[in-house]
């Protein structure tokens, strides 16, 4: 009997606490919110222009043990002349707490449109790289990655 009481009490405590705890914990990470944030970030980058696939090569390891430091490189096919060059490269993610990862502004002085860095990835997801050309067109490439240990969302104790 007493065990049942405790169980019920525990259940009630958990049940009453759940909505507030869930709201604080889960809400900003809801798939829908993140999708909306990604779309907003994408619109901010490209505006109303159409994004075509191709010309961009995004390289990421397909399987990542530790999402805290993932080598990422982007290369864009472009002659990089004054008349035809890559103006900017944007990298966006779908499931990180913030969709923006990095924005690189380039010009003909870069010689080649290539860039490398190391990023944090919170989850198994598709990473998108978008190249903004001097003629106003946008090209993109996506890379699907599997992350076993997530960055950002782990305990973060110091």
């Amino acid at each position: 009997m007493s065990t049942e009481m405790i169980t019920r009490r525990q259940f009630l405590i958990v049940a009453l606490a759940a909505p507030t705890a869930a709201k604080a914990q889960v809400d900003p990470n809801l798939a829908a919110n993140r999708k909306a944030a990604f779309q907003a970030a994408l619109r901010k980058v490209v505006g109303d222009a159409q994004v075509r696939t191709g010309r961009v090569k995004l390289t990421l390891p397909p399987l990542i043990d530790n999402g805290n430091s993932v080598p990422l490189s982007v290369a864009v096919e472009s002659p990089m002349t004054e008349a035809d060059h890559v103006k900017a490269i944007h990298v966006l993610t779908e499931k990180n707490p913030l969709p923006d990862v990095v924005t690189v502004a380039l010009g003909p002085r870069a010689g080649r449109a290539s860039f490398a860095t190391r990023v944090r990835l919170a989850d198994t997801q598709t990473v998108t790289a978008i190249a903004q050309m001097s003629d106003g067109s946008f090209w993109s490439d996506g890379a699907e990655v599997v992350v076993t240990l997530s960055a950002c969302l782990e305990e973060g104790l110091i």
Partner: protein, 106 residues
């Protein structure tokens, strides 16, 4: 003390595309982590990186919390003339680091 390392080839042929690698010492605190007592650790990241070649901007990077600690930035430039490449990192809480490298073009 904040430190940064840049790797630039000391000499290059005119018109050659050279690779530049930079590494800055920075924790890149995301602002999403919490301490043991549940307080959010405030964001502290490098916001922008710029590279100029004899005063001409070659590359400008906007960094976000999704960049790993001790950010590596690798890019390329055309060796046009002998001179100075200067690099600047600017971040939260007054973080500013400037580094220069010399390149000889023949």
């Amino acid at each position: 003390m904040a430190r940064a390392v840049v790797t630039v080839p000391p000499r290059a042929k005119r018109g050659e595309v050279v690779e530049i690698r930079t590494l800055a010492q920075h924790a890149m605190e995301t602002g999403f982590r919490r301490t043991q007592t549940g307080e959010v650790i405030p964001r502290d990241i490098i916001r922008t990186f710029t590279c100029t070649y004899n005063g001409v901007e070659v590359c400008r990077v906007e960094l976000h919390p999704a960049i790993a600690a001790n950010p590596l930035i690798a890019f390329t430039t055309v060796a046009t003339e002998s001179g100075t490449l200067s690099f600047q990192w600017v971040g939260d809480n007054g973080y500013t680091v400037t580094e220069i490298a010399l390149i000889k073009v023949e």
